[in-house]
């Protein structure tokens, strides 16, 4: 019995290996197990080599795993590229119709299965490409002793809607794989420890979906966007979902129009959302600056990918943090948040909506490519608690109406509001007085600049200091943000097992940051900021730059990487090693 297992399935994207991964993840969710998936996207539209990796376990699963316990190789190229990722003692199951491995390599156990021909046998010739994945899933179900009835139920739900024969063929292939005689490999293999029943419903989904649903839960009903990888799925889902709630999502002609349409919604009294990836965010910088000046709330999602420019559209990076905070011209304060995992994509969207409404500010959410596409299982949210139903408030504005009082929160009167005082408001990107009238009065510019910035100070004051994971004081503190959450936690656990005193802290609020960090920092000898971006001209990553500036604490140093892949636990550990020996 093992706690968890990392399974990597390597083939071509056309083989539907993403489908197997998705089904496995959903199964894990339904059996109270934790799961994290990881996949690569081929660089051509027509498909090509691709993997799907899934880590399933009974404990808390935080990263997709540094090495695989089990490799399924569909082709020679799959085998060659991925055998190095298998741990010593691991099992390599390969399609013996396609792959001829050097089985003398004693580090691994090789299990030949004629995936192609066995599938053809089971399903019939024409459908073979479609069936291989289901055959492999059947094999995995037997190897890992998965909950077969539930898996069949999930498969039926997935393929049920379509042409009947599709489901039939899928199940034919699955059953054939399940029944395939594997001999003694079953003994070598792992039975997963059953998870402790949580008594709660669990759901499995990817980060983009969780984010879209979080927006809905947060009461967002309007939005606009323009397609770009890896943001598009959020807009595609909102386009389909929002009309059910009386809202709408508009596909614009470009990102400049998209943010402007969204600001039109928000101005109208409907807190709106727009989003994109890096190139699109760069195009939104001017309008975002208007949102700060006019104090119109807005949510902007950036699903980060490798940059600069078109960069690496299907790789992960966290290199848009500085832009999120400082990308527009002028002193342009806005809020920046980042979710730590798929579940948090849901909750951060709700938090973004709350902040945008309360302070009438634009809020940027920094997700990333890895988070957007990987599947995780988590406890189904308690909607009764978190759900916000939006209200368009058109009650008449009182005579003393002032949209931008020098002290106090912004008060918008959306169009359609009767102004009791008789004077109607114009919102503007020019500097203005408390009534919103343009002015170039020096004193007012000073006060209004402070007013816009002080909203963030008030937000800061209400934020809780993030929890410490690990030792309350010690040698090392790791600081992270965004999707590095999982690997950082695992690194802490591994190093603590070795007897080191260390901890991690994770920032969800990046601008402004939560208060109290300096006191936490005081309790450790070394502080390492772990981020997937470049160390810049002066040797510091983006969050590290901000933290060092704020606290002027030279203990704060950077562990950065820029290879477009998520952090491996061992990379974090060796990153620390570069400064102080932790492995010996």
């Amino acid at each position: 019995m093992v706690d968890d297992a990392v399974i990597r399935i390597a083939g071509n994207s056309q083989d539907g290996i993403q489908t197997i991964g998705g089904l496995l993840a959903r199964l894990a969710g339904r059996t109270d197990q934790d799961v994290i998936t990881y996949m690569t996207i081929p660089s051509t539209i027509s498909g090509g080599p691709s993997i799907f990796q899934v880590r399933i376990g009974s404990g808390e699963i935080l990263s997709p795993g540094d090495q695989a316990d089990f490799l399924v190789a569909f082709y020679e190229h799959s085998f060659k590229s991925h055998i190095g990722f298998l741990r010593e003692g691991g099992i390599c199951l390969y399609d013996s119709d396609e792959v001829t491995p050097d089985t003398s390599d004693k580090r691994f156990t090789f299990v030949p299965v004629p995936l192609t021909s066995a599938t053809v046998e089971a399903v019939g010739g024409t459908a073979k490409d479609r069936g291989k994945n289901m055959f492999a899933l059947g094999l995995l179900c037997s190897v890992f002793d998965l909950d077969r009835p539930r898996l069949v139920e999930i498969i039926s739900r997935q393929f049920g809607g379509k042409d009947e024969s599709i489901l039939r063929n899928a199940l034919l292939a699955f059953d054939a794989g399940y029944a395939y005689p594997l001999g003694d490999i079953l003994d070598l293999a792992f039975q997963l420890k059953p998870a402790v029943a949580s008594g709660k419903n669990r759901v499995a989904t990817d980060g983009n979906t969780a984010m879209a649903l979080g927006l809905i839960a947060g009461g967002v009903r309007h939005g606009a966007g323009y397609p770009i990888t890896p943001w598009s799925p959020i807009m595609e889902q909102l386009r389909v979902e929002l009309p059910q709630y009386g809202g709408m999502f508009i596909q614009a002609e470009d990102e400049l129009a998209a943010i402007s349409i969204a600001l039109g919604f928000s101005y109208s009294g409907h807190l709106a959302i727009t989003g994109s990836a890096g190139p699109g965010l760069s195009l939104k910088m001017e309008a975002l600056s208007w949102a700060t000046m006019a104090e119109i709330p807005l949510i902007v999602i950036n699903v980060q990918r490798g940059g600069p420019s078109t960069g690496l559209p299907t790789s992960v990076e966290q290199s848009d943090l500085m832009q999120a905070i400082y990308g527009s011209h002028g002193d342009c304060p806005r809020v920046v948040l980042a979710p730590k995992d798929v579940e948090d994509c849901f909750y951060i969207a709700i938090e973004a909506a709350r902040i945008a409404r309360k302070y009438s500010v634009p809020v940027i959410i920094l997700s990333d490519q890895a988070l957007s596409s990987r599947i995780e299982a988590f406890t189904e949210p308690d909607l009764a608690k978190v759900m916000v139903d939006p209200v368009l408030d058109l009650s008449p504005a009182p005579e003393d109406y002032k949209p931008y009082p020098l002290t106090g929160e912004t008060r918008h009167a959306p169009p359609g509001t009767r102004m009791s005082g008789g004077s109607y408001p114009v919102v503007t990107g020019l500097e203005h007085d408390e009534m919103g009238h343009p002015t170039s009065n020096p004193d007012l510019h000073m006060k209004m600049t402070a007013r816009r910035r002080n909203k963030l100070r008030r937000l800061e004051a209400e934020l809780p200091t993030p929890e410490i994971y690990g030792d309350a004081q010690g040698e090392i503190l790791l600081v992270g943000w965004g999707s590095t959450y999982g690997p950082i936690r695992e690194a802490v656990s591994q190093l603590r097992e070795k007897g080191l005193k260390l901890a991690a802290i994770h920032l969800r609020h990046l601008h402004p940051m939560a208060p109290g960090l300096e006191k936490v920092f005081d309790r450790y000898d070394h502080i390492f900021v772990i981020e997937m971006n470049d160390e810049g001209v002066y040797g510091q990553g983006q969050l590290a730059t901000l933290l060092r500036s704020r606290f002027c604490n030279p203990k704060i140093r950077s562990i950065c990487k820029t290879d477009g892949l998520t952090f491996k636990i061992r990379e974090i550990i060796s990153g620390i090693d570069d400064f102080i020996a932790v492995t010996a």
């Binding site: 606009a224 129009a257 909607l383």
Partner: protein, 314 residues
């Protein structure tokens, strides 16, 4: 049903009809003699005539002399960024069917930096009225060549006289798919008001180009179309479909390629309605999607719909 809750005053007291005073806000910062004053006056007149309730007036603009329009109207307004007034207005129009949306702006704002948004809103037939105050020059930034500056116009960026073929506004607007396209002159208040009134009444994307003189940077630009300055103001005879003897000679405002042909007339060209058709608006389409989707979910509350969505991911 899962619609968005709207909090509104229960009884709306009888509203005084708006007069010019009620409609006026800041005194315009335009130069004395600027054509834009007349556009504002005409707008006030039409809004009064149409009896639009005060709180339903929403004027939206980008940046430019002309784009300061919203400050001078006492109504809800937005002074947005250069060239993007149309997409901002799109968000307002789609989500707020209760409002009357007016976009005002200049030739630079509309045809240069904003040219693309104009086209897409027009083909989608967004329900709003757009008035382009065309002065053939960049006013606010003090005399650079604009996309409508005629060849030979001496600006700061073309001191030897502009060389590029200018945009033909009527051709561009008709070709864009706008469903109401008209042309008028700021010195012809009555004609201008008539065009505004028809544009506002038109369901869908209606656009009016007003020749509005910049007396500081392009004085006399539109004299050729001003009878008081010795020019001519030739009107487009519109086909009435009434079988009157000369009706066959008149302009068929539903014929796109004829409207484009009319736009080829030599300067100062003709004035009036070039094109006018009815076509489903984007507003209708989006609201139909909502209606369909809501019919499918029946009486379910927002929370119930979302709960169901989660249940599918178990």
């Amino acid at each position: 049903m899962s619609t968005i809750t709207i909090k509104r005053p229960e009884t709306s007291e009888p509203v005084a009809k708006l007069d010019k005073k009620a409609l006026s806000a800041d005194h315009p910062t335009w130069c004395p003699g600027c054509g834009d004053f007349a556009v504002l006056a005409s707008f006030f007149k039409v809004v009064q005539n149409l009896g639009i309730p005060h709180e339903q007036i929403c004027t939206i603009a980008g940046i430019g002399c002309s784009s300061r329009f919203p400050y001078f109207v006492n109504g809800h307004g937005v002074h947005y960024i250069h060239g993007r007034a149309i997409p901002l207005a799109t968000g307002v129009s789609l989500s707020r069917p209760d409002l009357n949306i007016f976009v005002f702006g200049g030739d630079g704002d509309g045809f240069s930096i904003g040219g693309n948004h104009l086209e897409h809103a027009a083909r989608k037939n967004l329900n709003l009225t757009y008035v382009i105050m065309d002065n053939f020059v960049y006013g606010l930034t003090k005399k650079q060549t604009s996309p409508t500056s005629p060849v030979g116009f001496k600006s700061k960026t073309d001191p030897w006289g502009a060389q590029d073929e200018p945009v033909n506004p009527m051709r561009k607007l008709v070709a864009s798919g706008a469903t109401f396209v008209a042309r008028t002159h700021a010195a012809q208040i009555n004609h201008m008001s008539e065009m505004f009134e028809r544009a506002i009444k038109h369901p869908g994307f209606s656009v009016v180009e007003v020749l509005s003189e910049c007396v500081v940077f392009f004085k006399g630009s539109f004299d050729a179309a001003n009878p008081r300055k010795g020019g001519e103001f030739p009107l487009i005879p519109e086909k009435q479909w009434d079988e009157s003897p000369d009706d066959w000679k008149a302009h068929d405002t539903t014929d796109l390629s004829k409207a484009i042909k009319l736009a080829e007339d030599p300067w100062p060209g003709k004035f009036g309605v070039f094109y006018e058709v009815e076509r489903t608006t984007k507003n209708d389409n989006e609201h139909a999607l909502i209606a369909d989707a809501q019919a499918k979910v029946g009486n379910a509350s927002s929370q119930e719909i979302l709960a169901k969505r989660f249940a599918r991911m178990r």
